[in-house]
């Protein structure tokens, strides 16, 4: 199994001179293809900054970051955009779907920037929605007409359409109640186990982190622990997906 993520002594500082704030103090780790990793830490620990670097939204001040074998630590803004389009699927805490736009169109949005024809986009988006266990009856609904749990599944489907090397989920259950959160976690586990997707989940809740194969703890910009999760929880899959407004 090749390494999808390889971080070597990543440091990140904001500001300069007297007001300099060091957020990451030298992070080194790697993630292999097909792993389900949770990055845990309290707020202020630097996990969000790490996520931005892993997601090619930002570059480290120093250190090297290889994503799928490619050094992305010193790329320009537009080159980073290409990397994100080709290699990364994002799932955000607040879903970030386009309002008043159909589920299908939301899911196929990343492919627009890959200049893919509409017919091909919709085939791929339909498959992604099926993989994310999103019921077909709601495909033509507008994204603001469905419940929070459903919205997060749309977001997961959207993260799948470009067939990314890495799915990066930032507090994906943060805006959901425990029951719908469970369904979302189940979806991630299914994607990881059945489709072999590499997933990095960023969270501050240890219950959520327990669903991953491996947990990395971050505190004050350093990795404190990085170990296999011996007591991995398996999320329950509710047969009936509730369409309530959570």
């Amino acid at each position: 199994m090749k390494n999808i993520i390889e971080c070597k002594d990543i440091k990140k500082t904001y500001g300069s001179g007297g007001t300099e704030v060091v957020v990451l103090r030298g992070i080194t780790f790697s993630i292999r293809e097909g792993e389900f990793v949770a990055i845990m830490g309290p707020s202020g620990s630097g996990k969000s900054t790490l996520m931005h670097i892993l997601g090619a939204l930002d570059t480290p001040t120093s250190g090297e970051y290889f994503l799928d074998g490619k050094d992305v630590s010193k790329l320009s803004e537009d080159e980073l955009a290409d990397i994100r389009r080709e290699k990364i699927g994002f799932v955000f805490q607040s879903f970030n779907l386009l309002p008043r736009t159909s589920v299908l169109r939301n899911v196929s949005l990343p492919l627009i920037y890959a200049n893919m024809p509409k017919e091909d986009r919709e085939v791929i988006a339909a498959k992604a929605l099926t993989d994310a266990a999103f019921p077909e009856a709601f495909w033509s609904y507008h994204s603001n007409q469905i419940s929070g749990g459903m919205m997060q599944r749309v977001a997961i489907a959207r993260s799948l359409v470009n067939n990314p090397a890495l799915i990066l989920a930032d507090e994906p259950t943060g805006n959901l109640d425990s029951k719908t959160g469970e369904i979302v976690l189940h979806t991630f586990q299914a994607l990881n186990m059945q489709h072999g997707k590499t997933i990095v989940l960023i969270t501050h809740e240890s219950y959520v982190a327990q669903h991953a194969d491996r947990i990395i703890h971050i505190l004050d910009g350093n990795i404190v622990t990085d170990e296999k999760n011996p007591k991995k929880l398996v999320a329950r899959n509710e047969k009936n997906i509730p369409n309530d407004n959570t």
Partner: protein
Amino acid sequence: MTTRDLFEETYGAVTVNKVRSGLTMLGIVIGIASVIALVAVGQGTQSSIQSSIASLGANLIMVTPGAQRTFGSNVRGAAGGSETLTPSDAAAIESVSNVAAVAPEISGRYQVIYKTNNTNTTVLGTTAAYEQVRNTSIDTGSFITDTDNANSNRIAVIGPTVLQALFAPSADASATPAMAIGNTIKIKGIQFTVVGVTVAKGGSGFNNQDDMIYVPLGAAQHYLLGSSAYLTEVDVEAATQDSMAQVQADITTLLLGDHKIADPTKADFTVLNQASIVSTASSVTSTFTTLLAAIAAISLLVGGIGIMNMMLTTVTERTREIGLRKAIGAKKTDITTQFLAESVMLTFTGGVAGVALGWLAAVLISSFAGIATSVSVPYIFLAFGVSAAIGIIFGYYPARRAAGLNPIEALRYE
């Protein structure tokens, strides 16, 4: 992003908030419509003035009594007030080379009576050449002939306005030329027989060639104005357009010699050619058109600022969407293009609606206010171009602002 996707995304974004897009577009609609309508009024006025001057006659040179107006001189003899041109001047002008025809004129205003109808109109004494020189056409009957002139026959050719004033059977029935031919009218109490009616030329005010009675020059001198009457004008037709300058110069030299005037600036007559009248009138009306267009352009500018305002609001509102688009791989140029496309779509649609509205306004202005309008095709294309340009100019700053957003901050934006 393909063009089709760009169009779909843009259409979706513009139609999401229909009321706001519509109101913003309204600024451009009004701006473009006012440019189209006001320029149409300006150009219509210009072309109607030019055509009424052109209808005076082809290659026309007018010699009038009174001093030439020159720079530095504030004194000018009232037109027709000076008595310097004589029939012998007119005869002398005929010998100038490249002169096709010469029509001397004397005129006065008289009360004209037919049975119980009467009207006050201009009576013009002239010769047969007038018909050719002044581009006058006869509807029914005939114009003054050389024989009429030689014999000072008491015959009259009347304009259509005079025809209606004297021969209309009742207030709401109009007269036909046949009702007039052969009948006798009284001008200043003297009987003249109507032999012809001219075709309506249009025109208004003091230049109305329809409200006129033409009589032989000899008859006018003999019966109306007195045999020693001076000419009020001599109309000369040059043989060709190119010879006009030469004819004008030769007439000036000839008359200066005949009138024994050494200093051309003290000439007691004025030689005007039609082209110079047209160019003077054109420069006045084109200034007028420019002024109207400038006023309309201000409203277009205000519309453009409205677009910019809305686009800035949109960018702020959609900060998270921009963040997301960047996170899933949109480049700066993708975001810039998308927001520019939105503002151009707004202004271009506004431009199309504005052209239609402006055209409609121009048609309504001509039909209700009676002002001639002419919607010019180049201005329509210009209006489309300007509206698209406004979209680009006023959309550029908001689009750059959107494209420059940091994706991390944009995603976090509340």
